[in-house]
């Protein structure tokens, strides 16, 4: 199942975004509806209560860094490169230390992307 | 050649030491090994004790060179590692690099000098002779002579020998 099925913003905008609960529910009505987590989800949806997802790959605010998803997708960077093989995770975990600038820089250098500070830090 | 013996004598002061040395000279084949004191010997006496010229200055020069080189490399190479333009200055600007190098020289020199002193003095060392030490601490001058065994007794009469 492709990531952008739900994270619709990823090709067009800076952030991938999360699907509305309605979307999750629509599918999960059919798939594993009896899974306790899914039951919880449906309940939350019916009670009209939004879900607070914990951000796993959060940039520390002090890093003052701007990451633009679409630009990377356009450059054919696979989601897994940063997010790891989420599809095989039961609980999403941070595979890349997003706070480690060196990791970003190496990739930029390999792919001859700009390593001017302002590219990300503004 | 008759066998020799090392004789360690404690002198009360410079004059006494001078006298001992004079006598020792008359005995042929006798050599002054070392004098220990709680403050530097008076020049007149010091020159009668065989010592090497310390190589501390050489250490200093070498250390300065190394330190300077290291600093110069750090300053110029790191600048080239991420060549960022600031105020339209050259990436490797001579004056700043020069200043850093200068400090590097100084740092290297002081470190090397200390190292040199320690090496020249054979420090730190664990060789201790509490007897000698306490006498030196009392302000006496402890001279160690290398003399023929037959002359030992005679010389021992001049100053109190320290038994080992």
């Amino acid at each position: 199942m492709p990531c952008n099925r739900c994270h619709t913003g990823v090709e067009r905008g800076p952030v991938a975004g999360l699907p509305p609960v309605s979307l999750c529910v629509r599918c999960h009505k059919r798939f594993i509806p009896e899974h306790p987590e899914i039951v919880k989800l449906v309940e939350m949806y019916e009670s009209g209560e939004p879900i607070r997802w914990r951000k796993i790959n959060a940039m520390p605010p002090a890093a003052a860094v701007q990451f633009h998803h679409a630009a990377h997708i356009k450059a054919a960077v696979a989601c897994e490169t940063c997010h790891g093989d989420v599809s095989n995770m039961t609980l999403a975990v941070r595979v890349v230390n997003t706070a480690d600038m060196g990791w970003c820089v190496d990739c930029h250098v390999e792919n001859e992307a700009s390593i001017d500070c302002l590219t990300c830090h503004h | 050649m008759s066998e020799r013996t090392a004789l360690t004598l404690a002198c009360t002061d410079d004059v006494h030491l001078a006298e001992v040395l004079d006598r020792a000279q008359l005995v042929d084949g006798s050599r002054v090994r070392d004098v220990r004191s709680s403050s530097p010997l008076a020049p007149s006496l010091a020159e009668r004790v065989p010592t090497r010229i310390p190589r501390v200055p050489i250490f200093a020069i070498l250390g300065g060179g190394l330190g300077g080189l290291a600093a110069d490399l750090i300053a110029s190479l790191t600048a080239q590692a991420d060549p960022m333009i600031t105020g339209h200055m050259p990436i490797v600007a001579a004056p700043p690099v020069g200043i850093i190098t200068y400090e590097g020289i100084a740092l290297g020199a002081v470190l090397a000098t200390t190292l040199g002193v320690l090496i020249e003095c054979r420090l730190p060392s664990s060789r201790r002779n509490s007897e000698v030490a306490s006498r030196v601490a009392r302000g006496e001058l402890v001279v160690t002579l290398d003399v023929p065994a037959n002359a030992a007794d005679e010389l021992s009469r001049l100053a109190e020998p320290i038994t080992r």
Partner: protein
Amino acid sequence: MTRWGMVVDTDRCTGCEACVVACAEENNVQTVGEEEAKKGRAMHWLRIERAVEGTFPEVSVKFRPVMCQQCGEAPCEPVCPVYATYHTDEGLNAMVYSRCVGTRFCANNCPYTVRTFNWFDPEFPEPLDRQLNPDVSVRVDGVMEKCTFCVQRIKEGQRTAKGEDRDVEDGDIQPACASACAAQVFTFGDLEDPESKAAKLSKSPRARHLLADLGTLPGVIYLEDQEWNPGTDVS
């Protein structure tokens, strides 16, 4: 090669300060509050200077918007020990917040005193935080900041152009102050593109640099006030 620059026509500035608010709005510049403002810690990236000449009744006042001059040979850059501020190949005087350690040396060495410093963490009482521009990082305490020529808009413009496989055209990119100004005081553009409006205006005989004798080669060019000349004006 690009050299971003801005031409400021002081003859048109009415001192309405819409640009100042627009700048704070676009760039998440914090409001420090009365007590801090009293200490002289207001954070405006852009200020309207007014030069008062003469004594009553012959008093004349000139308005002059002053923001970071994006100097070609910037005094603020070399003094930073950690490259938090440096010069980009597009002629921008970059400021990297996350690299800044807060020695404030750059601010001392800025002859235009346009750099501002975060003395404390910013506060945006809910729901004011919902206004923050997501394209601009909110600065934490202890870091320097200043006018960036709205670099986020420059990046956005370049991204859009790239997406459409074309070059950035003159006028595509407008900093917040320029787009807010009703009198079109600000003209932003590439000074090295001879066709750009900014480049043309910068050739005007009225064009001046601020504190030109310091040789900082600013990217901001001021067009001096012009006098009303009855000779040419009245038929």
